[in-house]
């Protein structure tokens, strides 16, 4: 899974640490999400999308395979 978290973070001038604090997770979780190495729960995906003022499918892009 690919994500556009980094791009949106830059848009709103948020650090990984700040975003992590806003959605109630650890910074490492944001790191792994940005690298596509962790599949978040629907709740976390929803929280991230809400904080970044967009939709879940705009942020998380599922690979076809």
């Amino acid at each position: 899974m690919k994500t556009r978290i980094k791009e949106y973070r830059a848009k709103y001038n948020l650090t990984q640490e700040k975003l992590a604090e806003m959605v109630g997770v650890r910074r490492e979780t944001i790191v792994f999400l940005e690298q596509g190495k962790y599949n978040p729960s629907l709740r976390l995906a929803h929280n991230i999308a809400r904080v970044l003022k967009t939709t879940i499918d705009e942020i998380f892009i599922l690979d076809d395979d």
Binding site: T29, V31, Y38, R43
Partner: protein
């Protein structure tokens, strides 16, 4: 506040258990317990020192913790069942219960710790190819360990069964025993096990120290 109380509970329990372990002179278990607790809680401690607050226990941490607890428990159950064998048939007449239990808890804790580090740091730190290599080394180590254990039982079973069916002097009459075959298997098992363990360690350390940013 609830998490702070939980952290205090973990440290107080660890302290009480450490004192008990020292009082029964199981020093190596006490040291392992203290080191293990510090390693497991290092993020919390570091965050408390730096920011004076605890990091959240998010879904990823909860997931990794439950998987690590599951692995530790499975290991503990299998190791306990395996240990019952020599004690029940009295291969070991007077077991040192404190050391046996200490070793069992220590190994279970180590499995928990390594599993947690694997899910939390190593797995995300390694790419797919490296993960495949790590899995291969795990298989090599596991198979050679199992082969070693099975060959010990097989060696004794073959030796005993041939004596049972063909008489006590069977091996003297034949002239050659099954020793060379099992010696070769034992040697091969030890060598492949060593290769597997070294490979696992290298990949584990590589994943552990891969910087994520």
């Amino acid at each position: 506040m609830k998490r702070m109380r939980l952290l205090w509970a973990v440290f107080i329990t660890a302290l009480v258990v450490t004192i008990i372990l020292i009082s029964i002179r199981a020093y190596y278990v006490a040291i392992a317990l203290v080191v293990g607790t510090l390693i497991i809680e290092h993020r919390e401690l570091w965050s408390l020192i730096r920011k004076r607050k605890l990091p959240p226990i998010d879904e990823r941490v909860r997931e990794n913790t439950s998987k690590a607890i599951r692995n530790g428990f499975i290991f503990f159950a299998i190791a306990s069942a395996f240990l019952m064998l020599p004690f029940s048939v009295k291969i070991i007449e007077t077991p040192d219960v404190v050391h046996v239990l200490g070793g069992l808890f220590l190994s279970g804790g180590t499995v928990y710790l390594l599993s947690y580090l694997f899910y939390d740091r190593v797995e995300p730190g390694l790419n797919e190819r490296s993960l495949r290599v790590l899995k291969t080394f795990l298989l090599v180590a596991g198979i050679s360990f199992a082969a070693g254990i099975i060959s010990v039982f097989l060696h004794n079973a073959i030796y005993g069964l041939f004596i049972h069916f063909f008489g006590a002097d069977f091996w003297d009459r034949v002239g050659v025993a099954d020793e060379p075959v099992f010696f070769f298997i034992a040697l091969l098992s030890v060598l492949t096990f060593a290769v597997g363990i070294i490979g696992i360690l290298v990949m584990f350390i590589k994943g552990l120290f891969t910087k994520s940013s």
